[in-house]
Symmetry: C2
Subunit: 241 residues, 2 copies
């Protein structure tokens, strides 16, 4: 693809694009809920409820109502809210146990072909996460799952949450390259739209099971992105890796 001749680095959305957050959170939530005698709560619904608080929490930072706060802290606050919504008094649970459940976001599994696809893409490109996750979260996830990142980038390095333009532009800047030399790989059309607005190249990989069997959004590219792959292996093939 001619558009990719000048691309030096691929940066990846992580939650949903690289890892399956819903099944990973549900797995750890199921153990926690059973331990507290609440096996009646659907752990996937619990994961969805926790994730639903993600955008509003970051919006506090994006809007300037709150200084930059790393995602581990936002996830931890959101956990207390979602527990209370399910009738579980977070104040009665030890800090250690809440912290451990919060680190379920560090223990998410990649989609089946992700590690092999990234390993191929790494031969030709610099590869790094461009995620709203913080450094410790992304690093612990990578170490556990074998994600072969060249660097850990994202919101904490840029000090801005996607889709704020600074999240994309500062990432190009720290890499010492122009926005057009950077490509975002994501399963989310909105993320790609914001990246394109900043001059980045764009690659779409659908993850039709991210939100479970009833998923209706992001099933197909909403715009003619610079590349579209069925998965990371297909993307590597299309980019000549």
């Amino acid at each position: 693809m001619a558009r990719f001749d000048g691309v030096k680095a691929l940066v990846f959305d992580v939650f949903g694009t690289v890892v399956d957050w819903r099944e990973g959170i549900a797995r750890d939530a199921a153990v926690f809920l059973a331990r507290h005698g609440r096996g009646d709560i659907d752990p996937r619904g619990f994961a969805d409820a926790w994730r639903q608080r993600y955008q509003p929490a970051m919006e506090q930072v994006r809007s300037g109502r709150r200084p930059f706060t790393r995602l581990d802290v936002l996830h931890r606050e959101n956990l207390e809210g979602v527990l209370n919504d399910h009738g579980i008094n977070a104040g009665m649970i030890s800090e250690d146990e809440l912290d451990d459940l919060n680190r379920a976001w560090h223990r998410l599994d990649p989609w089946p072909e992700a590690v092999a696809g990234l390993t191929r893409l790494k031969r030709r490109f610099i590869i790094a996460p461009l995620s709203n996750g913080n450094i410790a979260l992304l690093l612990n996830m990578a170490k556990r799952a074998g994600l072969p990142w060249d660097a850990i980038l994202g919101a904490e390095v840029a000090q801005a949450y996607k889709p704020e333009p600074e999240a994309y532009l500062r990432t190009a800047e720290v890499l010492g390259i122009r926005p057009a030399e950077l490509c975002l790989v994501a399963a989310h059309n909105g993320d790609l739209k914001a990246a394109r607005g900043c001059g980045l190249a764009t690659a779409f990989v659908p993850r039709p099971a991210e939100h479970g069997p009833g998923q209706t959004k992001d099933l197909a590219p909403a715009e003619p992105w610079d590349a579209v792959g069925k998965d990371f292996q297909d993307l590597a093939h299309k980019l000549g890796c």
Copy 2:
């Protein structure tokens, strides 16, 4: 070593400890100097002169006289100074050529056993640079040399230059660990002293050729550091990797 039972991450000084900056800079400077008809200048002396401007430039930032400025920019300014000191008018040389020579700092070779040693240490620990080099410099160096970092940390992430305490403490903070769970590996006693002052564990690896055959400093540990290895392979052995 019992001291290392609680250590989760090893962070490394880079210039001198992981890579041989003097020979790498001299190699690229020799080509540049010959091209400009200045084969009379000793390229190792040129490398030493360039490096000598390193601490004073960072001191401008440490003292607060200048906002945080990444090392690529400081190196570039220092290059113009060292050229002029050698009677070469930097203003007569193209920006592209100066930028390319400045990126010699991205193209330094590791000490012979460094990649193998890091690969062993990575099995047990998170490994990352904690260097005054900026992210692009450290990432390009790692990609070229095969340094298997788990993340790229250092001054640009911490927004502070060593030996300022913030450089060490913010690195532990972004890793989500306590200072005592972090160990600095360095060939420089001064760097280790500052790290110990912040509560980090410390490991010394001498690099007796860093400054060439006449080196007199940092040949031996100046304090009883928590670990001492002859090189990274020996350090890996001593830490049970």
